[in-house]
């Protein structure tokens, strides 16, 4: 037991001595939460638009004013020719151009119809669609203003209820994603690098000839990272509750328990990686390519899994973080109980056992 503690103390000293890495380890979740929480939105606001007004009459001026006054748009430029629109798009100065034909007011009120062109920069298709939709709705409200609202017969009134996330906050989706990513990074990547470094430096042999059984050596290497991971889970949860107002709907105990389970799965994965590589560079790049990118791509937090082609959907099932992401989302956001995440939990348990078994097998053959 004393030896065991001595080993753990040694690992902690290694980690704590490297302050630069430590700052990044603890800073990473904080920065991610802040960026995702406040900087990264798909919201369109203050989009820069340009105007090509051939009529310059009361009606067009009125509409331009309303566009500029809305929170979605800022009028950036007034053009006098279509070439200038092209030029502004090519310089990336505007997202949308609104073109009023000559005699706009006249045709609107005399002929009862007038066309307005909304030219969007569709190099970003999603933003283009959104911008056109917002502009159209402002134009329509102008129309209603001019005409007075019409009530139409036989109207279906859909009542829309946004389940779990009535304010449509992005945070509800990315908090579980950030948790999966950070835990994987620390538990799997750091452990695998730490073990491989000892191999590279030859100190692993020294540890292995000590009277402590090899499996304990590995366990002691992992314990500090379990603790670090746990601190990070807590940081993320505290930040998301207090800073982002994402409440924990389900049981905190269950959430922490499932996080522990995922930490173990990630550690087992790290262990497995460390048994198949011999150099730090390879361990790092392998962790990055095999763990981090697939987590980003296949966990469903960045990209919708259901839109992927079938083979990719299949691959996503093999990614542990996907299951953890599901669990956190169900427990934390939807407030479901253990029964609902039983399947996901069992898959994680099975994966953990699998990784440990393969790692042990590799490990033994290496020692013999």
């Amino acid at each position: 037991m004393k030896l065991f503690l001595a080993f753990i103390t040694k690992e902690f000293k290694h980690i704590l001595r490297d302050t630069r890495t430590l700052i990044i380890l603890f800073g990473m979740p904080i920065v991610q939460i802040i960026l995702f929480g406040f900087a990264l939105t798909n919201e369109v606001k203050d989009s820069r638009i340009g105007i090509l007004d051939y009529s310059k009459d009361q009606a067009s001026q009125h509409i331009i004013q309303e566009l500029d006054a809305s929170r979605y748009f800022d009028v950036e430029a007034n053009f006098s020719s279509p070439q200038q629109i092209d030029q502004a798009f090519k310089e990336g100065r505007i997202r949308l151009a609104v073109v009023f034909p000559a005699h706009f007011r006249h045709s609107l009120f005399q002929q009862n119809t007038a066309s307005i062109q909304l030219i969007a920069d569709a190099s970003d298709p999603n933003t283009a669609t959104t911008v056109v939709n917002y502009a159209s709705s402002i134009l329509k409200s102008y129309q209603d203003e001019v005409l007075g609202e019409q009530t139409l017969p036989y109207t279906i009134q859909p009542e829309i209820r946004m389940l779990y996330n009535p304010q449509l906050k992005g945070a509800y989706n990315f908090v579980p994603g950030v948790m999966a990513m950070i835990l994987l990074l620390i538990s799997a990547m750091m452990t695998s690098i730490a073990i491989v470094r000892e191999k590279e430096l030859g100190t692993m042999e020294v540890l292995l000839v000590s009277p402590v059984p090899p499996i304990l050596v590995i366990v002691t290497k992992a314990i500090p990272y379990v603790l670090l991971s746990f601190i990070n889970v807590s940081t993320i949860l505290i930040l998301s509750v207090n800073l982002l107002d994402v409440p924990i709907q389900g049981s905190l105990l269950l959430l922490l328990g499932e996080s522990m389970l995922f930490i173990f799965a990630a550690l087992a994965l790290g262990l497995f990686i460390s048994t198949i590589t011999n150099s730090q560079q390879v361990a790092m790049l392998a962790s990055l390519m095999v763990l981090l990118l697939p987590t980003l791509i296949f966990s469903g937090f960045m990209f919708p899994i259901e839109n992927m082609p079938k083979p990719m959907q299949f691959i996503s099932n093999l990614i542990p973080s996907k299951w953890y992401f599901f669990i956190v989302r169900d427990v934390m956001i939807k407030g479901l109980g253990f029964k609902s995440v039983l399947k996901e939990s069992l898959i994680l348990v099975a994966m953990t056992i699998g990784f440990v078994l393969i790692a042990l097998k590799n490990y033994k053959t290496r020692l013999e």
Partner: protein
Amino acid sequence: MKTLLFLLEKEFRQIFRNSSIIRIIFVMPIIQLIVLPIAADYEVKNVNIAVVDHDHSSYSRQLVQKIIGSGYFRLVENTDSYKKALKSVEQNDSDVIIEIPAHFERTLIKENEAKLLLAINAVNGTKGNMGGAYLNSIIKDFNQDVRTDWVTFPRMNPMPLLDIVPRFWYNTRMNYQLFMVPGILVILVTMVGSFLTALNIVKEKEVGTIEQINVTPIKKHHFILGKLIPFWVLGLVVTAIGLTVSRVVFGIVPVGSLLVIFGFTAIFLLAVLGLGLLMSNFSDTQQQAMFFAFFMIMVFVLMGGLYTSIDGMPEWAKIMTKFNPVAYFIDVMRLVVIKGSGIYEIRNHIFAILSFAIVFNGLAIWTYKKQV
């Protein structure tokens, strides 16, 4: 100059001798460039829908038919209890519940207005929002059909009506991959540039060969150039491979000039390589360098406008993006590849990225110490 040639010869030999690095430089970008744009499909489709039809009228059936027929939605559950439908949302089997109340058809015809409930799983806010909007517009369409069944509209507009004509320039087919591929290419070039330079120098530190270099009369700038040039060349090669892949796999042909693309890439690479050098100057172990590089790239990519547009960011974040070389490069790639912008149009970007290159490399040379 002669010294530099010897340095370059050595670096190239070392790079090409290490097969795992070569694989990472050439194979990984290709795989990612193919996989990422396919995965990064934000279009709303395959939305799973649970229908709770209490009405069982011809209208309620027609509405469900119309929704399924739109191609965006998939009927997974047809039940008569909202509770059951909610259960299916909880289990992630369905994304949307439509509850059609009893006497829906009769109410609509008799009372001119009928209600309908749409409950959307909004854990993913964007998806919830967009799915809801699609569904809403389908219902509006259906509503229009119902009206034309019962009312005959006059042929001339009785009142003034705006005719809104949307035009989508540069990408008329609204191809999302056209948007993503150039951006992802930028990320790959950035990763190759900064990771590999940072790791390369730190490795010499860790192994101890840098001490041997430091006692030679070699000039600082020679040593740094010797490290920069090989990765600069590799970065350009990766760009060329990336452009080829995007042409072959995604059929994306840059509208603008290749010369502009490569010219800008060349300057951009100088900037990120300088950054890599800078990071290596401040790390003692490869692990540190790796984490540094990873952290920087993560922030750069998230704040680079690849997935979420910079326009929507708050003011402080917009200011941050002014200091993000990756944001400039993503923008330029899209401008040149999709819209065909020329040097004049991207002059501000060029100026900004040149400044980065000068500042980063200046700092890197300044902080590189031949002494311990």
